[in-house]
């Protein structure tokens, strides 16, 4: 079933150290590459087609297949470590998809260092979350379906990162969107969940529009859309074209990664089950935009304008997410805002070019660990708190759920950039890179990232303090509580849930240090993304110092606000800025005002137009004919003599005409 690609390695020698995707055909251990995607896909198909029959073992099967995919991924990784240089980049051509003359769409996989990182992250974190979900979803009657969707997601995400051309990437891209839709709307009986799912899908589609147009442009420009050819040829094409492609790719990334201005769906997406939020809306899917930009490094390198746009989008989103995160009382929405902000970091880094790509990916991976850990922790808290999400109804939970507290706390320290934890290394590098961009823009971006670091510390400390410290506010009944309200009994979650949290906490603590050690991560990625050291306008230590200072400042302010003072269990009135932040900076109002309402009016107008205008014209024509006939038929009086008269008139006419013709 697998044809090996004939993409030969002849040219590889010429490319050592260079970017681009010059790869050998998959052989040996690599020939099992398709299994990475195939195993979870098989799981999804089996569970969906099998139906109720698979209920008893569905979750086990799905988890096993996800783990199997992880194992294959690790096998690939080990094999890849064995190889060196170009040998680490392999292609596997599966089958020809849709060939029409020049348009040669293939189903083919491509594995290199960049995708390897993603494969391990997706299958690793994905497997952990599968395990976690066994416990979390234990009592849901539709657990099988949930696991089917999870498997579908993993498969689609792996396809996204393993595709060897943009069209197949698009398939994965929409596939993860579909899985995300299904999982956000998993509890379909809740109208809010169904609406959130739809919203997410449609906003993603706006992004997909960008990706589609980007692919059209690639095809028109290069006559192909494989990574190899497009990226290889990107230096030769005109700036305008490259900028257009870059901006379209950015639009796609904005949709998938919830970047400004397509960020509005992420908060609502928290309607899905928490493992979903952890896997899809924190660790993996939302980072697809970063992958796309990093993967298309050559395109952005060829277009400084597009790069600038990327950094601007990233910078806006960093602050946007951070500000929103400061005001949210819903623990998951606060984390979602944080995710948005952190991805903003990555996008910003990716926009910096070769000085930032590797750090973007590094932050992506560390973020994958700690944010997944944080979400799982939040899920664990909700699990013990009757699915309460309002942090103002938490407090003092550290005694009741110690493992959750510790793992959540480690994730917290990692995300704020506590020295020597994962986030410290990755975020600090991004701040450095921002300054290293140079020029005014470098200073502005550096300042933004520093400010955001402080805000991150602030809002994450706030989450931590409101949840695990302070008074146990959940003991008193909320105002307007239903009659059957009963006090929650916080408890620690089962092993299947705490286990993954512990593992992710390890990742949160050590991954960054491991990656930073000897710049191993950067070196690993350099063959794909390229790397260059920027010139810092100051010493590295100064940047690190400033970052730590900002973090300390943010933490201190939060401490003063939420530890030294009583946290009210109902959100108090606040300044307009806070209100705005609570309402997501009016993103929904703006979307509704600018897009939805005019759209609704337009639709209504068109429905009217179709009925009265287009159909009305046709109907009017018919009515006109009918009316005319009704009038003309009155000529038919029924009196024979009238008919005779008209016949006689006709005869007269005919005779006259004949005569006239004869005389003429």
């Amino acid at each position: 079933m697998i044809e090996t690609s004939s993409l030969a390695s002849g040219a590889l020698l010429a490319n050592e150290g260079g970017g681009g995707l010059h790869s050998t055909a998959a052989s040996g251990a690599f020939s099992a590459l398709w299994l990475v995607v195939g195993l979870p896909l098989l799981g999804a198909v089996l569970l969906l087609v099998g139906g109720k029959r698979t209920n008893p073992f569905g979750h086990i099967l799905a988890t096993a297949l996800a783990l199997g995919s992880f194992v294959v991924g690790v096998l690939m990784f080990v094999t890849m470590l064995d190889k060196s240089g170009p040998g680490r980049s392999v292609d596997q051509h599966l089958w020809t998809w849709a060939p029409v003359n020049e348009f040669q769409a293939d189903i083919g996989l491509h594995l290199d260092q960049l995708s390897m990182v993603f494969v391990l992250l997706i299958t690793g974190v994905g497997s952990l979350i599968h395990i976690y979900s066994i416990g979390y979803m234990a009592h849901d009657e539709n657990r099988r379906r949930f696991f089917a969707y999870l498997n579908l997601f993993v498969a689609a995400m792996l396809l996204l990162v393993l595709a060897n051309n943009y069209l197949l990437l698009y398939v994965g891209w929409e596939g993860v969107g579909l899985a995300s839709y299904l999982l956000i709307g998993f509890w379909q009986h809740k109208p809010s969940a169904a609406t959130a799912a739809k919203k997410a899908f449609i906003m993603n589609r706006v992004g997909d529009f960008g990706l589609a147009v980007a692919i059209f442009l690639m095809f028109t420009t290069f006559g192909t859309f494989s990574f190899e050819d497009v990226l290889g040829g990107s230096a030769t094409a005109s700036d305008g074209t490259m900028t257009a492609i870059g901006l379209m790719l950015l639009l796609a990334a904005c949709g998938k990664s919830a970047q400004f201005p397509l960020q509005a769906w992420l908060g609502d997406a928290m309607e899905g089950p928490t493992p979903v939020s952890a896997l899809i809306h924190a660790a993996t899917m939302v980072t697809a935009g970063v992958y796309l930009i990093t993967r298309s490094a050559e395109i952005f390198d060829a277009s400084p304008d597009a790069q600038l746009a990327v950094t601007i989008v990233g910078a806006i989103t960093v602050l946007f997410g951070a500000i929103v995160g400061c005001a949210k009382d819903d623990i998951k929405k606060a984390l979602a805002a944080s995710t948005m902000s952190q991805i903003g970091y990555m996008i910003l880094a990716a926009g910096l070019g070769p000085i930032g790509y590797a750090f973007a990916i590094m932050h992506l991976v560390t973020h994958g660990f700690f944010k997944a850990g944080l979400f799982l922790g939040a899920g664990s808290v909700m699990h013990g708190m009757n699915d309460e999400v309002d942090m103002r109804r938490y407090g003092g939970l550290r005694k009741y759920m110690p493992i959750t507290f510790v793992t959540f706390g480690l994730g917290y320290l990692a995300i704020i950039g506590f020295p020597l934890l994962s986030g410290f290394f990755s975020k600090d590098k991004i701040i450095e890179a921002a300054f290293a961009k140079g020029g005014t823009s470098g200073w502005i971006l550096g300042a933004v990232t520093l400010l955001a670091a402080g805000l991150t510390a602030y809002y994450m400390t706030r989450v931590m303090l409101m949840t695990f410290f302070g008074k146990e506010r959940w003991k008193e009944a909320p105002a307007g509580a239903p009659a059957d309200w009963h006090e929650p009994h916080p408890h620690e979650s089962p092993v299947s849930m705490t286990g993954p949290m512990i593992l992710l906490a390890f990742g949160s603590v050590f991954a960054g240090g491991l990656f930073a050690l000897n710049d191993s991560f950067v070196k690993w990625l350099t063959p794909v993304t390229g790397f260059s050291h920027g010139d810092l306008p100051m010493s590295e230590w100064a940047v690190t110092g400033m970052a730590i200072a900002m973090v300390a400042l943010g933490t201190a302010v939060a401490y003063l606000q939420y530890a030294r003072r009583e946290v009210p269990s109902v959100a108090p009135a606040a300044s307009p800025v806070t209100v705005a932040a609570r309402r997501d900076l009016y993103q929904d109002a703006i979307n509704e005002g600018l897009v939805m309402r005019p759209g609704q009016y337009l639709t209504r107008l068109l429905v009217w137009f179709d009925n009265k205008g287009v159909d009305g014209f046709v109907g009017g024509l018919a009515a006109f004919v009918g009316g005319t006939s009704a009038r003309v038929r009155r000529v038919q009086t029924g009196f024979v003599r009238t008919y005779a008269l008209s016949m006689f008139g006709g005869t007269l006419l005919v005779v006259a005409c004949t005569l006239m013709a004869r005389m003429a």
Partner: protein, 330 residues
Amino acid sequence: MSPGMDFAAEVTKTSTGEALQFWVLAAVALIGALATVFMKKAVHSALALVTTMMCLAIFYLAQGAVFLGIVQIVVYTGAIMMLFLFVLMLVGVSSVDSLKETLKGQRIAAAGLGLGFGILLTAAIANASITHFTALATKSAGSRPVYPAETDDEALRAVSQGNVQGLAHQIFTKYIWAFEMTSALLITAAVGAMVLAHRERLVPRKTQRELSEERVRDNKQVAPLPTPGVYARHNAVDVPALLPDGSVSELSINGTLRARGQIRDVSAEAVHSVAALETAGADDDDEAWPDESDAPASAPVPTARQEHEDPDPGSGDEVGAGAGSKEGRS
């Protein structure tokens, strides 16, 4: 004058007798035609049409179409027009058509169109002005007609034997198919006429017994219908009987006459004449007035009515048959 015109003048010449006859009879025919259209009574129209047709028959004869002329008189005037008259009698001889036009603009349009058509036709004939008559010359010279199309001897012989033979030869040779078709047409027409005129009886005819039983059952007109008046001065059957209050009883008149509206109400006339008699009766005993009316001289008229309106129940047998048959008709 060109020789052509000379020739035309020559060949279009006909005998003076024929010309005289034409001018006289054409006038008659035209008058007849106009009378057909404008006479109020249909019978008059029919008679006027007969006149016109007779004139045309004479024209045929004059133009050598002997057979057609006779046929025109025998078949057309004799048979077809008689048929018309029969139908007219069936429908009502004396009914007068109202010539008042009911369709708006019909009369003006008809007149206009007719005038236009007449002018057009006349102009056409005048314009086509027959400059090349081929046959009149030979005909006026007395020789037999020449038939360029038919040169075989038999045809010539037939024609030379006379008009009827010529026609017969043509009809039974050249036009045999058309002739056969006319036979089919005639048969179809005859059958069609029978079908149309025939009334299908949907229910069995009721016997007299059934009818009288029905009358009794419905309690409607149990007694015989009143008989019409019997004043000898009038057509008797069209004079209605009078009801006790002096109004006429239309029931006493035959249905057909009723439908035509041919009811002659003479009640007032009778009163009038009785009154006249009374004034004159004193000095003129010869005036025929029934003797019995003399007896109650005080109220002669009512008595007369009384007698008339109140038929003696015992005399029902006499009039019963008449009433019954009347009812059967209506």
